[in-house]
Symmetry: C2
Subunit: 167 residues, 2 copies
Protein backbone atom coordinates (compact mmCIF):
# COMPACT_ATOMS: atom_id res chain seq x y z
CA UNK A 1 0.00 0.00 0.00
CA UNK A 2 3.03 2.26 0.23
CA UNK A 3 4.67 4.30 -2.47
CA UNK A 4 8.36 3.48 -2.35
CA UNK A 5 9.01 6.90 -3.84
CA UNK A 6 8.10 8.61 -0.56
CA UNK A 7 10.70 6.65 1.36
CA UNK A 8 13.65 8.31 -0.37
CA UNK A 9 12.61 11.90 0.20
CA UNK A 10 14.53 13.90 2.75
CA UNK A 11 11.42 15.61 4.06
CA UNK A 12 9.71 15.12 7.37
CA UNK A 13 6.29 15.56 5.88
CA UNK A 14 6.97 12.88 3.29
CA UNK A 15 8.34 10.59 5.96
CA UNK A 16 5.24 11.12 8.02
CA UNK A 17 3.11 10.24 5.01
CA UNK A 18 5.23 7.15 4.56
CA UNK A 19 4.07 6.09 8.01
CA UNK A 20 0.52 7.37 7.85
CA UNK A 21 -0.57 6.63 4.32
CA UNK A 22 0.06 7.95 0.91
CA UNK A 23 -0.94 11.26 -0.51
CA UNK A 24 0.81 13.25 -3.11
CA UNK A 25 -1.79 15.90 -2.67
CA UNK A 26 -0.41 17.30 0.56
CA UNK A 27 3.04 17.41 -0.98
CA UNK A 28 1.63 19.61 -3.71
CA UNK A 29 0.22 21.89 -1.00
CA UNK A 30 3.57 21.78 0.79
CA UNK A 31 5.36 22.98 -2.35
CA UNK A 32 2.69 25.61 -2.97
CA UNK A 33 3.33 26.93 0.55
CA UNK A 34 7.01 27.04 -0.45
CA UNK A 35 6.04 29.37 -3.30
CA UNK A 36 5.74 26.99 -6.25
CA UNK A 37 3.06 28.01 -8.75
CA UNK A 38 4.08 26.51 -12.11
CA UNK A 39 3.01 23.09 -13.35
CA UNK A 40 6.52 22.28 -14.58
CA UNK A 41 8.05 23.16 -11.25
CA UNK A 42 5.57 21.02 -9.28
CA UNK A 43 6.29 18.26 -11.76
CA UNK A 44 10.06 18.42 -11.48
CA UNK A 45 10.09 18.85 -7.70
CA UNK A 46 7.63 16.05 -7.04
CA UNK A 47 8.79 13.76 -9.81
CA UNK A 48 5.30 12.48 -10.56
CA UNK A 49 3.74 11.70 -13.90
CA UNK A 50 2.25 14.75 -15.59
CA UNK A 51 -1.15 13.14 -16.00
CA UNK A 52 -1.25 12.28 -12.29
CA UNK A 53 -0.18 15.79 -11.34
CA UNK A 54 -2.82 17.29 -13.64
CA UNK A 55 -5.49 15.17 -11.97
CA UNK A 56 -4.33 16.14 -8.47
CA UNK A 57 -4.15 19.85 -9.30
CA UNK A 58 -7.58 19.75 -10.93
CA UNK A 59 -8.98 18.10 -7.82
CA UNK A 60 -7.46 20.80 -5.62
CA UNK A 61 -8.98 23.47 -7.88
CA UNK A 62 -12.35 21.68 -7.80
CA UNK A 63 -12.22 21.69 -4.00
CA UNK A 64 -11.33 25.37 -3.85
CA UNK A 65 -7.92 24.68 -2.31
CA UNK A 66 -6.13 26.11 -5.33
CA UNK A 67 -7.09 28.45 -8.11
CA UNK A 68 -5.80 28.74 -11.68
CA UNK A 69 -4.55 32.17 -12.69
CA UNK A 70 -3.53 32.76 -16.34
CA UNK A 71 -0.01 34.12 -16.74
CA UNK A 72 0.31 33.69 -20.51
CA UNK A 73 -2.19 33.94 -23.36
CA UNK A 74 -0.95 32.13 -26.40
CA UNK A 75 -0.82 29.31 -25.63
CA UNK A 76 -2.67 29.85 -22.39
CA UNK A 77 -0.72 28.86 -19.30
CA UNK A 78 -1.78 29.02 -15.67
CA UNK A 79 -0.24 29.50 -12.29
CA UNK A 80 -1.67 27.34 -9.55
CA UNK A 81 -2.12 29.40 -6.39
CA UNK A 82 -3.41 28.45 -2.98
CA UNK A 83 -6.69 30.04 -1.95
CA UNK A 84 -7.32 31.10 1.65
CA UNK A 85 -8.76 27.61 2.18
CA UNK A 86 -5.55 26.12 0.85
CA UNK A 87 -3.24 28.43 2.79
CA UNK A 88 -5.08 27.44 5.95
CA UNK A 89 -3.64 23.95 5.51
CA UNK A 90 -0.35 25.31 6.88
CA UNK A 91 -1.45 24.07 10.30
CA UNK A 92 -1.85 20.51 8.96
CA UNK A 93 1.47 20.62 7.13
CA UNK A 94 3.15 22.04 10.23
CA UNK A 95 1.74 19.32 12.46
CA UNK A 96 2.83 16.64 9.99
CA UNK A 97 6.26 18.21 9.65
CA UNK A 98 6.90 18.60 13.37
CA UNK A 99 5.67 15.08 14.09
CA UNK A 100 7.93 13.80 11.33
CA UNK A 101 10.88 15.78 12.67
CA UNK A 102 10.42 14.02 16.00
CA UNK A 103 9.34 10.56 14.95
CA UNK A 104 9.79 9.84 11.26
CA UNK A 105 13.29 10.95 10.32
CA UNK A 106 16.72 10.02 11.67
CA UNK A 107 18.46 13.22 10.67
CA UNK A 108 18.29 16.82 11.74
CA UNK A 109 15.26 18.69 10.35
CA UNK A 110 15.52 19.42 6.60
CA UNK A 111 13.31 22.48 7.13
CA UNK A 112 13.23 24.90 10.03
CA UNK A 113 11.06 27.92 10.64
CA UNK A 114 11.58 31.31 12.22
CA UNK A 115 9.17 33.91 13.50
CA UNK A 116 9.15 37.25 11.71
CA UNK A 117 8.23 39.15 14.84
CA UNK A 118 10.75 37.83 17.34
CA UNK A 119 13.30 36.63 14.79
CA UNK A 120 14.04 33.34 16.51
CA UNK A 121 14.19 29.89 15.00
CA UNK A 122 11.15 28.29 16.54
CA UNK A 123 8.55 25.57 16.49
CA UNK A 124 4.79 25.98 16.45
CA UNK A 125 3.31 25.05 19.81
CA UNK A 126 -0.33 24.44 20.72
CA UNK A 127 -2.10 26.56 23.33
CA UNK A 128 -5.66 26.87 24.60
CA UNK A 129 -7.69 29.51 22.74
CA UNK A 130 -9.37 30.54 25.99
CA UNK A 131 -6.64 30.69 28.63
CA UNK A 132 -3.49 30.61 26.50
CA UNK A 133 -1.90 27.78 28.45
CA UNK A 134 0.33 25.27 26.65
CA UNK A 135 -1.60 22.12 25.74
CA UNK A 136 -0.70 18.47 25.85
CA UNK A 137 -2.94 15.72 24.62
CA UNK A 138 -3.78 14.77 28.18
CA UNK A 139 -5.02 18.26 29.00
CA UNK A 140 -7.78 18.11 26.39
CA UNK A 141 -11.22 16.57 26.81
CA UNK A 142 -13.19 15.43 23.77
CA UNK A 143 -16.97 15.90 23.62
CA UNK A 144 -19.72 15.34 21.12
CA UNK A 145 -20.34 18.70 19.47
CA UNK A 146 -23.47 20.48 18.26
CA UNK A 147 -23.05 18.89 14.83
CA UNK A 148 -22.89 15.33 16.16
CA UNK A 149 -25.43 12.76 15.00
CA UNK A 150 -25.81 8.99 15.17
CA UNK A 151 -23.18 8.54 12.50
CA UNK A 152 -20.58 10.70 14.23
CA UNK A 153 -17.48 9.18 15.66
CA UNK A 154 -17.66 9.64 19.39
CA UNK A 155 -15.37 9.28 22.32
CA UNK A 156 -15.75 5.95 24.12
CA UNK A 157 -18.24 6.36 26.93
CA UNK A 158 -20.99 7.64 24.60
CA UNK A 159 -23.15 9.99 26.61
CA UNK A 160 -20.28 10.51 29.03
CA UNK A 161 -17.43 12.78 28.08
CA UNK A 162 -14.30 10.92 27.28
CA UNK A 163 -11.29 12.17 29.12
CA UNK A 164 -8.25 11.52 27.02
CA UNK A 165 -5.85 9.41 29.07
CA UNK A 166 -3.08 11.46 30.61
CA UNK A 167 0.47 11.04 29.44
CA UNK B 1 -9.26 8.22 -6.51
CA UNK B 2 -11.76 8.94 -3.73
CA UNK B 3 -13.47 6.55 -1.41
CA UNK B 4 -17.15 7.37 -1.54
CA UNK B 5 -17.43 5.94 1.95
CA UNK B 6 -15.63 8.94 3.45
CA UNK B 7 -18.12 11.38 1.98
CA UNK B 8 -20.96 10.17 4.17
CA UNK B 9 -19.19 10.43 7.48
CA UNK B 10 -20.23 13.22 9.79
CA UNK B 11 -16.66 13.88 10.91
CA UNK B 12 -14.48 16.82 10.10
CA UNK B 13 -11.37 14.68 9.91
CA UNK B 14 -13.01 12.36 7.41
CA UNK B 15 -14.25 15.31 5.40
CA UNK B 16 -10.76 16.73 5.35
CA UNK B 17 -9.43 13.41 4.10
CA UNK B 18 -12.11 13.46 1.45
CA UNK B 19 -10.55 16.66 0.19
CA UNK B 20 -6.93 15.83 0.81
CA UNK B 21 -6.70 12.18 -0.11
CA UNK B 22 -7.68 8.91 1.41
CA UNK B 23 -6.35 7.27 4.43
CA UNK B 24 -8.13 4.96 6.77
CA UNK B 25 -5.05 4.89 8.87
CA UNK B 26 -5.55 8.28 10.48
CA UNK B 27 -9.14 7.38 11.24
CA UNK B 28 -7.86 4.39 13.17
CA UNK B 29 -5.60 6.74 15.11
CA UNK B 30 -8.53 9.11 15.62
CA UNK B 31 -10.61 6.32 17.14
CA UNK B 32 -7.67 5.15 19.25
CA UNK B 33 -7.42 8.70 20.63
CA UNK B 34 -11.14 8.39 21.42
CA UNK B 35 -10.31 5.37 23.55
CA UNK B 36 -10.98 2.46 21.20
CA UNK B 37 -8.65 -0.50 21.75
CA UNK B 38 -10.52 -3.57 20.48
CA UNK B 39 -10.32 -4.93 16.94
CA UNK B 40 -14.08 -5.47 16.81
CA UNK B 41 -14.80 -1.94 17.91
CA UNK B 42 -12.45 -0.42 15.35
CA UNK B 43 -14.09 -2.65 12.77
CA UNK B 44 -17.65 -1.69 13.62
CA UNK B 45 -16.90 2.03 14.00
CA UNK B 46 -14.92 2.31 10.79
CA UNK B 47 -16.96 -0.18 8.79
CA UNK B 48 -13.97 -1.51 6.91
CA UNK B 49 -13.21 -5.06 5.88
CA UNK B 50 -11.54 -7.07 8.63
CA UNK B 51 -8.60 -8.03 6.43
CA UNK B 52 -7.99 -4.39 5.53
CA UNK B 53 -8.22 -3.35 9.17
CA UNK B 54 -5.81 -6.12 10.18
CA UNK B 55 -3.31 -4.91 7.61
CA UNK B 56 -3.61 -1.28 8.71
CA UNK B 57 -3.26 -2.15 12.41
CA UNK B 58 -0.27 -4.38 11.70
CA UNK B 59 1.35 -1.52 9.79
CA UNK B 60 0.78 0.84 12.70
CA UNK B 61 2.31 -1.72 15.07
CA UNK B 62 5.26 -2.20 12.69
CA UNK B 63 5.83 1.56 12.69
CA UNK B 64 5.66 1.79 16.46
CA UNK B 65 2.53 3.93 16.38
CA UNK B 66 0.49 1.24 18.16
CA UNK B 67 1.34 -1.71 20.32
CA UNK B 68 -0.49 -4.99 20.86
CA UNK B 69 -1.25 -5.83 24.49
CA UNK B 70 -2.79 -9.24 25.30
CA UNK B 71 -6.02 -9.05 27.28
CA UNK B 72 -7.07 -12.68 26.94
CA UNK B 73 -5.14 -15.95 26.77
CA UNK B 74 -7.23 -18.67 25.25
CA UNK B 75 -7.71 -17.85 22.47
CA UNK B 76 -5.24 -15.01 22.66
CA UNK B 77 -6.75 -11.56 22.03
CA UNK B 78 -5.04 -8.20 21.93
CA UNK B 79 -5.83 -4.61 22.66
CA UNK B 80 -4.34 -2.13 20.22
CA UNK B 81 -2.97 0.85 22.13
CA UNK B 82 -1.27 3.99 20.92
CA UNK B 83 2.37 4.37 21.88
CA UNK B 84 3.84 7.76 22.78
CA UNK B 85 4.70 8.11 19.09
CA UNK B 86 1.09 7.42 18.22
CA UNK B 87 -0.38 9.69 20.90
CA UNK B 88 1.78 12.49 19.55
CA UNK B 89 -0.32 12.40 16.39
CA UNK B 90 -3.00 14.30 18.32
CA UNK B 91 -1.53 17.49 16.85
CA UNK B 92 -2.05 16.19 13.30
CA UNK B 93 -5.57 14.99 14.02
CA UNK B 94 -6.36 18.31 15.70
CA UNK B 95 -5.08 20.32 12.74
CA UNK B 96 -7.08 18.14 10.33
CA UNK B 97 -10.16 18.40 12.51
CA UNK B 98 -10.03 22.16 12.96
CA UNK B 99 -9.37 22.73 9.26
CA UNK B 100 -12.28 20.46 8.44
CA UNK B 101 -14.51 22.27 10.91
CA UNK B 102 -13.80 25.50 9.06
CA UNK B 103 -13.57 24.34 5.47
CA UNK B 104 -14.82 20.82 4.88
CA UNK B 105 -18.17 20.51 6.65
CA UNK B 106 -21.39 22.45 6.35
CA UNK B 107 -22.68 21.71 9.83
CA UNK B 108 -21.67 22.65 13.32
CA UNK B 109 -18.65 20.71 14.61
CA UNK B 110 -19.45 17.05 15.42
CA UNK B 111 -16.66 17.09 18.01
CA UNK B 112 -15.62 19.86 20.36
CA UNK B 113 -12.86 20.00 22.93
CA UNK B 114 -12.45 21.56 26.32
CA UNK B 115 -9.41 22.32 28.43
CA UNK B 116 -9.12 20.47 31.72
CA UNK B 117 -7.31 23.32 33.41
CA UNK B 118 -9.53 26.28 32.54
CA UNK B 119 -12.66 24.27 31.86
CA UNK B 120 -13.67 26.17 28.75
CA UNK B 121 -14.74 24.80 25.40
CA UNK B 122 -11.80 25.80 23.24
CA UNK B 123 -9.81 25.35 20.09
CA UNK B 124 -6.10 24.62 19.81
CA UNK B 125 -4.21 27.68 18.60
CA UNK B 126 -0.64 27.92 17.31
CA UNK B 127 1.93 30.11 19.07
CA UNK B 128 5.66 30.70 18.70
CA UNK B 129 7.75 28.43 20.95
CA UNK B 130 10.16 31.30 21.63
CA UNK B 131 8.04 34.40 22.25
CA UNK B 132 4.59 32.89 22.76
CA UNK B 133 2.89 35.16 20.24
CA UNK B 134 -0.05 33.85 18.19
CA UNK B 135 1.08 32.68 14.76
CA UNK B 136 -0.42 33.03 11.32
CA UNK B 137 1.03 31.51 8.20
CA UNK B 138 2.32 34.89 7.10
CA UNK B 139 4.28 35.36 10.32
CA UNK B 140 6.45 32.31 9.69
CA UNK B 141 9.57 32.13 7.54
CA UNK B 142 10.72 28.81 6.09
CA UNK B 143 14.43 27.96 5.86
CA UNK B 144 16.51 25.02 4.83
CA UNK B 145 17.42 23.21 8.03
CA UNK B 146 20.55 21.41 9.22
CA UNK B 147 19.24 18.15 7.77
CA UNK B 148 18.68 19.58 4.29
CA UNK B 149 20.44 18.03 1.31
CA UNK B 150 20.16 18.24 -2.48
CA UNK B 151 17.06 16.09 -2.41
CA UNK B 152 15.26 18.21 0.16
CA UNK B 153 12.23 20.21 -0.78
CA UNK B 154 13.18 23.84 -0.41
CA UNK B 155 11.44 27.15 -0.37
CA UNK B 156 11.55 28.91 -3.73
CA UNK B 157 14.56 31.21 -3.77
CA UNK B 158 17.01 28.38 -2.99
CA UNK B 159 19.92 29.90 -1.09
CA UNK B 160 17.69 32.79 -0.05
CA UNK B 161 15.22 32.32 2.72
CA UNK B 162 11.71 32.15 1.44
CA UNK B 163 9.35 34.45 3.22
CA UNK B 164 5.90 32.94 3.17
CA UNK B 165 3.57 35.41 1.45
CA UNK B 166 1.57 37.42 3.93
CA UNK B 167 -2.12 36.99 4.15
Amino acid sequence: MKRASFADMNCSVAQTLEVIGEWWTLLIVRDALFGVTRFDEFSSRLGIARNVLTRRLDTLVDHGVMTKVPYQDNPIRHDYRLTEKGRDLWTVLTALRQWGDKWAIDTEPPIVTSHRTCGHTMTVEPVCSECGEALTRGSIRIHRGPGADEQSPSPIGHSEDRATPTN
